[in-house]
Structures are given as structure tokens and as C-alpha cells.
Symmetry: C2
Subunit: 224 residues, 2 copies
């Protein structure tokens, strides 16, 4: 039995692009054409033959933001019937973490407009994107706790206070300064650059992430 004997769905890749700019933000595009014309949506596009899913995601990411070499992870594949009024469409969702310093917004030609939205003030979303986005946020928060993905949202160098603020923003809770510093320095995942950031008050040491660091910790065990 040949492949052509089975009906085939359309397959898209959607990329939830997070950045940190005062608040945790997501890039959304305003749809130019029906369905959902004028509504906001997660950027995405059709997979092309001869291209891996990750390549599709990277292509979409570059089209929207101009960035390459950022953190990208497959999230989940959504295929419920009826999720797209145009017909049978399965979407493979990815999420990306982009430092706010690296972004250069450029609306793709299938979008009227691209904009960052704080995750605390999201608009109504097209398709089933209102289900997909919280899923991505949950995964991000979860990964943040046991891995070092948080650094992917920060510029190359940063102060300890900036790092702590980033974590507090994403996790939406406050952390103890001394405990935070002790633990992160003890983990050996960052190192001093030797430079300082000056401004109001005492200048702060600048740190950078050590990408040779093993930046993942085992989950706490439910059973011994």
C-alpha cells in the first residue's frame, strides 16, 4: 500500500518566542488573511518537503525576529480535529528563548504586524493558540527550575541582581538574595568577566554564563 493511498494532513510548525523585557513577553503576529484575520496568533508556517521540523522552526524564527543561534525546543504536537477551520492541520509547536538585546523585529509578509505581549496581558488568540501558549509557559517555568535555560533570555553579560530579577519575573515569586547568590555561584555555571556595571549606587560585577557548565540538576526523587 503506497503512501498516497492515505489521506494526508497539512503540517505546520508554530514557534512560541519568549523574551524578557521588564516582563516575560511573547511575540505574536496579527493575521492579515482569514481565517481569524485581524486576530493575534503564534507565528508559524507550513513544513516544506526536505526540511526537518527543527529547520522549519528556525526558519520561522529568523523570518520573524532575525535571530539565529538561540535556544529552541520542541514543545508538543497538536492535532485535534477542528483546531483549524480551513481543514485538517496538525501543528508541531516549538518554543524559543531570545535575549531582548538580540531582537530585530521584522514582520513576515504573511503578517500585518508583529508585537511583543506581556504574558500578563495577552490578547484573544486565533486557532487553539490559547491552549498552546499556557502549555509553553508551564514548560518554561518548569525547565527553569532544574536547568539553566534562564540564561538564554539574558544578554551575554549580566549582574547577579539582573539574573535574580529575571528568575523572579519568570517564576513570579521573590527570591532571597543571599541564598540565590550562594547557590548559583556554588553551582559553577557562571563566571566573572572582570568588568563592572556602573550606575546608581555601588558598581556591580558582571558575569557571563559558562557554556561548558553542566547546567542540569536531577529531579527530586519521589522514592529513594
Amino acid at each position: 500500500m503506497a503512501l498516497e493511498d492515505y489521506p494526508r494532513p497539512s503540517v505546520t510548525v508554530d514557534v512560541i518566542i519568549f523574551t524578557l523585557h521588564d516582563d516575560l513577553q511573547v511575540l505574536l503576529i496579527k493575521r492579515k488573511y482569514p481565517p481569524f484575520a485581524g486576530m493575534w496568533a503564534i507565528p508559524g508556517g507550513f513544513v516544506q518537503e526536505g526540511e526537518s521540523l527543527e529547520e522549519t522552526a528556525l526558519r520561522e524564527l529568523e523570518e520573524e525576529t532575525g535571530v539565529r543561534d538561540v535556544y529552541l525546543e520542541q514543545l508538543y504536537t497538536f492535532g485535534n480535529p477542528g483546531r483549524d477551520p480551513r481543514g485538517w492541520v496538525i501543528t508541531v509547536a516549538y518554543f524559543a528563548l531570545v535575549p531582548c538585546t538580540a531582537v530585530d523585529l521584522q514582520a513576515g509578509d504573511d503578517a500585518a504586524e508583529a508585537r511583543w505581549f506581556s504574558i500578563h496581558s495577552l490578547p484573544l488568540l486565533a486557532f487553539d493558540h490559547a491552549d498552546i501558549l499556557p502549555y509553553a509557559l508551564q514548560r518554561l517555568r518548569y525547565k527553569l527550575e532544574y536547568s539553566a535555560v534562564g540564561f538564554e533570555l539574558l544578554p551575554e553579560t549580566f549582574t547577579l541582581t539582573e539574573l535574580q530579577t529575571a528568575y523572579e519575573t519568570i517564576l513570579d515569586e521573590t527570591l532571597d538574595k543571599r541564598n540565590f547568590r550562594r547557590k548559583i555561584l556554588g553551582a559553577g555555571v557562571i563566571e566573572r568577566t572582570g568588568a563592572y556595571r556602573t550606575g546608581e549606587g555601588r558598581p556591580a560585577q558582571l558575569y557571563r554564563f559558562r557554556d561548558d557548565a553542566v547546567a542540569e540538576v536531577k529531579a527530586r526523587r519521589l522514592f529513594p
Copy 2:
């Protein structure tokens, strides 16, 4: 631009079916037709229109094993070009946990034979299934540590020693008996049935899983 203007891939769902029978085992089917005729493969099939991905996975699972109502989780979507010599095929992989008591093997009509293989003695696999299977195993081991999925591989009632042996088999390490018992009883996820299992030696209390239990523990934090 209409959906039909874009080329569409074939989409399959593959289900890695785990069970515990002395050792941790995986169900594989021997392919009847080319490509890879005669080779072993993860069971799977094409998604049908009007069906969710999870429904496809459940359908495949029931066709192969006759079971319903077992643990099923989406794993990852594989879409590398060239992974299927027949053409452009994307597969959404799921994994399932089946108690060995519940299984009733029945080869689907597209398979010559279905068999359980210990994960320590796997045959050569068709397609890119040799990449998919270790991925599933890693996810299973990982989830086992911070959630209670391990119970999904056990019969309804079990002794504490059986439970501990199950964990030891999957994690491939030995655990301390007293610590194991203290922690799992303290977690409140199992309860006595009142019945005993007799055999050689002192009879053992039988326990059952409490499905009202919150059986997930937070990951250890990398940072406070």
C-alpha cells in the same frame, strides 16, 4: 492561499509500549511488507482524518495489545527528511505503560508477528526507531523519579517488595528496603488492601495505588 497549495506529508503515530515482566520490555512488531520487511519496528499507523493524535495512539495500542485505559503520553515528533524511504513521513511518537497482567497480544494484520523484547536485548530496528526507543526509555526513567507513573506498570495490587523490584528494574539500580518503604508509605500514594500474598516465606501485605493521591513531586531547584 488554500491548504491544498502546500505539499503535505504523511503523518503516522508510533506507540512505544512498555511493560514489566521480570525485565522492562517493549512491544515490537515484525514488518510483513517492505520497506524493512522482516525487521522489527515500533507499532504504529497512519493518522486518519477526524481523529485526534491521541485517538490514533489509543487505536494502535488496542489493535496490538487489546488494552484500553492505560497510561499514554506524547513523547516527541520526528520529521527528519529521509527517515522513511517511502517518502515524506512525519511520526508523532507516544509511549504507553501497560501492566503485564492486562496484555493479550494480537498481531495487527499489517504485522507478521508481535513480541516483547527486553530493553537489554533489542533487535535491529526499522526506520529511525533505534533513535526513538532510547528517547522513550530516558523519558520513562526520568518521569519515574518525580511522578508515580511506575504504578501503571504494576497489577492492581502488589506487595512492597514487588513495587521496589519494579523500581529497581526500571532504574537499573538497587534501593534500600527500609528507606524505600518509609518514603513511599509516607508519601501516602498507596494503601493496604487488607489481603495478603502467600508463598514461600512470610506472607506479604498487598497494597493498591490510591488514584486520589497527588503523585508528583517538584523538581529539585537548580537555584533557590
